[in-house]
Symmetry: C2
Amino acid sequence: MTRRLLVLVETQDRPGLLSRVSGLLHSLGANVATSLGYRVDGRARILFMVDARLEPGELAERIREQLGGEARVEAAYLGPEGAELLAEFLEDKPGLVNLLELYLDPPDLLDALLRLPEEARRRIYRVLSHSSLARIMLLADEATAQEIAGSLDPDHLARALAALEPDETVDVLQKLPEKLRRQLLGRLPEPLREEAQRLLRYPPDTAGGVMTTSVPVLRADDTVQRALQELRSGEHDVRDTVVVVDSQGRLLGLVTVDQLLRAGPGERLGSLALKPRATVEPEADREEAARIMLRYDISRLPVVDQEGRFLGLITIEDMAGVLTEEAAEDIALLGGVEAPKERYLKARVLDLFRRRILWLLMIFLVESVTANIIKGYEDVIRRIALLAAFIPLVMDTGGNVGSQASSMIVRALALGEISEKSRHDIVYVLLKEVATAALIGAAMSAVGFVFALLLSGGEVKLSLVVALTLFIVIMMADVIGASLPILARRLGIDPATLSSPLLTTITDIGVTVIYMGLASYLILGR
Amino acid sequence: MTRRLLVLVETQDRPGLLSRVSGLLHSLGANVATSLGYRVDGRARILFMVDARLEPGELAERIREQLGGEARVEAAYLGPEGAELLAEFLEDKPGLVNLLELYLDPPDLLDALLRLPEEARRRIYRVLSHSSLARIMLLADEATAQEIAGSLDPDHLARALAALEPDETVDVLQKLPEKLRRQLLGRLPEPLREEAQRLLRYPPDTAGGVMTTSVPVLRADDTVQRALQELRSGEHDVRDTVVVVDSQGRLLGLVTVDQLLRAGPGERLGSLALKPRATVEPEADREEAARIMLRYDISRLPVVDQEGRFLGLITIEDMAGVLTEEAAEDIALLGGVEAPKERYLKARVLDLFRRRILWLLMIFLVESVTANIIKGYEDVIRRIALLAAFIPLVMDTGGNVGSQASSMIVRALALGEISEKSRHDIVYVLLKEVATAALIGAAMSAVGFVFALLLSGGEVKLSLVVALTLFIVIMMADVIGASLPILARRLGIDPATLSSPLLTTITDIGVTVIYMGLASYLILGR
């Protein structure tokens, strides 16, 4: 794989250094895209951007060997890994970003910015081109977008935003505070302003929030020739499909570029347009739209209003990014944290704290019930202290079985393998989980019995309590774990919200009641 | 949103029933795409496929009202929800699938098949068209693909597979046992067989495994006109891009259809071709390829060999499906289950058991350490039985803090916000987590102290032990939870593998040592 690398060389300045290193890079099969250097404290610091097949570590090693002792050579892939090198290079001379900008993709530039001190970052914002600025704000989290907005005057900002497509402009505006948003809207050039105002109505997590309006829209009696002209203009974001509407703007169908190429130039679009497999309304959940696109292999999904008027297209390119975000949100939820809006590198400790503490307190509250239950059996524990030794074991097993079952079902729901609305599927899931849990319960309680027997030095009754508890707990945790995600979906909640921490806590209470109750009854007979 | 619905009507047969219901549907704004019926036990059972804006529940309700008392009317969206209705309709007359096939997308048909008894399923396989069969095998899990293969003779199967693109044929072949695969390969028509043999070399989780080879490939001295002709043929999977190679087949660049439309018909492709932003080798991990495509907004990523020869393109359409699969795999891993290869509806109980038991036994083994530790403090517990009451509380809090931290970091790594290879990022993560954990620890130990004081009726020393344990445990769990995913990535393991169940167990041991040790030292002074 050829990938772009950053190579940073820092050494005693000497004549011909730049061409020397360039030559070395060339001899190692690396194509130099650009290089840039300056002097600090009598030493030369040069940054190379190269396309190479060698691993960064090996490339750096080879150059270091050739340059000899005191030279510092570092290399990394452009991207998150190389962000540190780029930041280091820019920290002393932020103005140089102007010369690198052309060779850097916005995500790479943003990654470097986030690793710079704020002061250097702000200096860079002021010298960046409009288009880089706009792209970076589009990629950035809210905190960074607001920092950029705060470093520049509104006219400058508005000109930068005008470099974007309307739907992208809106994505940026939605990261800014209300007041600034209005200021900027007023400064946008005309067709863009109106379009942006219209799009601002749709929240980012809806179909309307992810659609693009930069699409060629034509009438049924327009010709193929006219449609090709429109695509040729290269003005639209979508360049492989034209949308055909009637005189009221209602969607008639889509025509793809290969259909156009096959048709005669004079043919009318009305006769070519194919009704799409599905449409969505702008208020629909974007995840719902994603599911439909993936299921039916739709790469362009039209968004229409109640009256069937065409509003925009959702492209699979945009959706791929959305899917990744949604997956990342689920990962956070499954771990018991609300997904942060800002990047980790920008998140403030206090925000992280706030986002996590509520959940922990809630779990603490529920878990305090177990403490109360155990307290009620204080005398039992005083008499059989060894009981305490098995508490973590039975609890953990219950929690694990529950989260296994729940993650299997969350997964099957996410992939559309089962439906929360199908009676058949619900019955099926329950039967299958009961059967699986029975097998797991039998195996684990056998293991638990032997282990308890060994640890307690042959206490049969105690070991029976452990084994029996394990069996009951496993059955219970599995069924609850499998049911919760289905229930969540039926209630319209993201199944990942009822995540393993919550599940664990619920089963913990059950475990305590069963374990202490059984112990007290079977061993002490009361 | 207009979506396709299934409506099943079952009622006393009477003349004009079909047109009566069709009329009703029409008056409710539902367009009937097709309808099909048969008689069972003197009753008529009719299935309608309609495009409607009404919710299925409401639509069914309205029709039921109009038809009167004894009619059974059910409606559901086509898809996983409607699969049950479709299965019910087909169960009595599997042969009718022939008439429905045209109106059904393969994923919808597959969902219904999986909800039918095996016998009916097999009868359906035998009457389906080649192209439906092939598409269904492409979508199906291994178990179902093998069931289909087992119901048909190899010649029939090979003809079905020939309806697919070469990369799709290979995806199906990879689901079948080695012997059958070889049989089928031998029966494929010629250019397809060679192509399939070549593609079979790449495992499904590599770039080579997800690329398509159905791409127009042209030379640098070919003209724009020639390229447009090629696209016009509609023979290729990729219809908006042509690949330009040299006489050795080495990749020179890509030309998009809108470039072609703008250029003159006689222009040479060599002068239009743009070098791609990145390329991958076929052996590269498909997740790596996905990351690059998303980061740089690449919708067509070329796959080339060591010598730079063009092998195929990865399209963002295909990648979107891969991303969903990978996310689902992570969800399973985070819950402590290896992601199953078969659909949940096809998974056998014994397989589910096998997939889960190993993990549970491992966790049991580790957790048995905590039991041993607590046993060592048996006399301490005998004297202060209330100690046992707080064990679940402190353990659970530790586990939750750890999984919060780990899910934040897994998420940041997945989104490329931080890199496991950057020293800056690692130091930054550790500092930020220590700070956050200190805040969380302070808050939770204050809460814990008060709670313990209340529950114990004013035992200050015991409450101090609980509070202190909470603080230490939270610091420890957070730092371990944040470090594990970074460590996993550096070792080349999926961070989701070191999932919360494992993390919980590790922290449990730490918690036990700290809690029991502190209690014994602070309360009993030894």
